[in-house]
């Protein structure tokens, strides 16, 4: 079920979500070899950053809470990674973030020289006080960031949005107007907090963290549904997908591609191959194609 997305031909609809398994060529290649059509790198920022202390990632049974805190070597500090990735033979999306419009542009300009197939602009991370999400909750700032990035690169741009926005469709439209070539929705939900009652302490060192996995799927589906109505550019639907059926649901909401993050924990790296197989089986049984079911819920 090969599919055209922006300027790239993908072998199926599955996408590795940003922040899952990191940035190194070998592991990303393994993800690709396990059935993933498009791998997204861990978000890359302007300065080296360690992220938060542990605990940073906790399994809640029906999902994950995390406050990894945008660790990054910093975009200029990844010679080895970039060099390794030069020789890759799989489609790559580089996720970036910044603390200001200028930083986003600076990171994007540098990163686009490394020739990723696309750049994902993360304006939606809840796990840092200064970075990311603030830009994604207002149409004006979202527009500014995407415009600034668009000016400095020809690489196709994906804007990654947060469900915390009051009107995510409006944000998506602002990104489209600013030149985004696609939307990715959603980043983690919340934030949430889990308190360990024996110690009386929040279990995350950063106290709050973003929610992901099965429990956020209804929010992700609703967001993609709303965005599909508002924009013409394609959508990477992401949030709570673990099975082929979940991916079909996401496509019916309006997604073109289907991102997978937390399910790498529950089903292993092979989840991409499994989901694709389940989708194919479902489509065959229903005499359908990806194209015929996209947006079916509208």
């Amino acid at each position: 079920m090969s599919i055209q997305f922006l300027d790239t031909t993908l072998k199926n609809t599955t996408v590795l979500a940003s922040g899952i398994l990191g940035n190194n060529k070998d592991i990303l290649e393994r993800v690709y070899n396990n059935g993933c059509a498009l791998v997204t790198m861990k978000s890359i920022g302007p300065e080296p950053r360690d992220g938060h202390n542990n605990p940073t990632v906790i399994d809640l049974g029906h999902g994950i809470i995390n406050a990894v805190g945008l660790p990054t070597p910093g975009y200029t500090n990844m010679e080895k990674e970039w060099k390794d990735l030069e020789t890759r033979d799989f489609p790559l999306s580089a996720s970036i973030y910044g603390g200001s419009v200028e930083e986003y542009a600076r990171v994007a300009e540098f990163v686009s020289k490394q020739k990723p197939d696309m750049i994902e602009v993360n304006i939606s991370c809840p796990n840092s006080e200064k970075h990311g999400m603030t830009f994604g909750v207002h149409a004006k700032s979202a527009h500014e960031v995407v415009s600034a990035v668009k000016k400095v690169t020809n690489v196709p741009l994906i804007a990654k949005l947060t469900p915390q926005a009051l009107n995510i469709a409006e944000i998506a439209k602002a990104c489209e107007d600013a030149g985004a070539d696609a939307i990715c929705a959603i980043n983690t939900v919340g934030p949430g907090m889990v308190i360990d009652i024996e110690s009386g302490m929040p279990v995350l060192d950063f106290k709050k963290g973003g929610l992901s996995g099965p429990m956020i799927k209804p929010v992700a589906i609703r967001c993609v549904y709303d965005i599909y109505k508002a924009v013409k550019i394609p959508i990477i639907g992401l949030g709570g997908i673990s099975t082929g059926e979940d991916a079909i649901e996401m496509i019916m909401a309006g997604a073109t591609l289907t991102g997978i993050g937390s399910a790498v924990k529950t089903r292993g790296i092979n989840v991409f191959g499994l989901v694709t197989k389940e989708m194919t089986r479902w489509l065959d049984r229903h005499n359908s194609t990806i194209d015929s079911i996209r947006g079916a819920a509208h």
Partner: protein
């Protein structure tokens, strides 16, 4: 959260913490230990019985020092067990255990599980000096010691002893090793030379412990999930073994820089 049920001070810098809780586990698996307001780090299970388990910690930096200073009834968080664990020897196997310092911790429950009548075991254990040799009285069988200062056993490296044992005509079909990565790499090289299957237990900075965040990635392996134990087949392809590791920021650096960064 679990209460520390007891503590055994192995020596001034090593202690074993015990917890009253049953865990279903394989030797070589680890848990994440959370000390509230400090940090959360991985430790392999060093002893497991029906209703109790223990982890053995070497005081290195802030966290591990805090850990060995915990007292009975202090509350800590435990997540796990995680990871793959060792592949147990089969009856008839002749194995060598090569442990450096605290590296005996993950190997100890392996020794507990093995039927010593059916598996021939050569256990080599090295440390800085006599006082740093772990579990000196825990096992009944003979062990071969070596120390950096010669205060007990051979003065020198565990790898010297391993080579000696092989030269003496011992034919091992499996070697299990844990300790400093450079030591494990040497052991692996010796095994390769002699065509012995080797299993090493790797250590990388970890966050999730369950194969999601990528903090612990080593080449194409996810140490917390595909490992921490890796056998010869994988080690042969693992370019980053004894070479590079990821810092907390995700930056890939030479192993020396990795350990230097971790200084308090």
């Amino acid at each position: 959260m679990l209460k520390v049920a007891g503590k055994q001070e192995e020596n001034p810098e090593f202690a074993t913490l015990f917890f009253n809780s049953s865990l279903i586990f394989k030797p070589g698996q680890f848990i994440m230990l959370w000390i509230p307001e400090v940090d959360e780090k991985p430790y392999t299970l060093s002893s497991v019985s029906d209703k109790k388990f223990g982890i053995t910690i070497e005081a290195k930096g802030i966290f591990s020092k805090k850990a060995i200073s915990l007292k009975k009834d202090d509350l800590v968080g435990i997540r796990g067990p995680f990871g793959n664990g060792f592949t147990l020897p089969k009856p008839g196997d002749s194995i060598a255990i090569v442990a450096g310092g605290c590296g005996l911790a993950p190997l100890a429950p392996l020794l507990d599980r093995i039927n010593h009548d059916r598996v021939s075991i050569t256990c080599i254990h090295g440390a800085r000096s006599k006082d740093y040799l772990l579990f000196k009285d825990r096992f009944k069988f003979e062990r071969y010691f070596c120390t950096d200062d010669g205060s007990l056993g051979h003065k020198g490296f565990v790898t010297d002893l391993l080579k000696e044992k092989i030269a003496d005509g011992n034919t091992f079909n499996k070697v299990y090793t844990c300790g400093p990565e450079i030591m494990m790499h040497k052991v692996f090289e010796i095994c390769e030379k002699h065509n012995i299957h080797c299993q090493v237990s790797l250590e990388r900075y970890m966050r999730c412990g369950f194969g999601l965040c990528g903090a612990c990635v080593c080449g194409k392996e996810v140490v917390c999930k595909d490992g921490p134990v890796f056998g010869s087949e994988k080690l042969r392809d693992m370019e980053d073994f004894n070479k590079t590791a990821l810092l907390k920021s995700g930056k890939e650096v030479a192993l020396d820089d990795y350990f230097a960064w971790r200084h308090p």
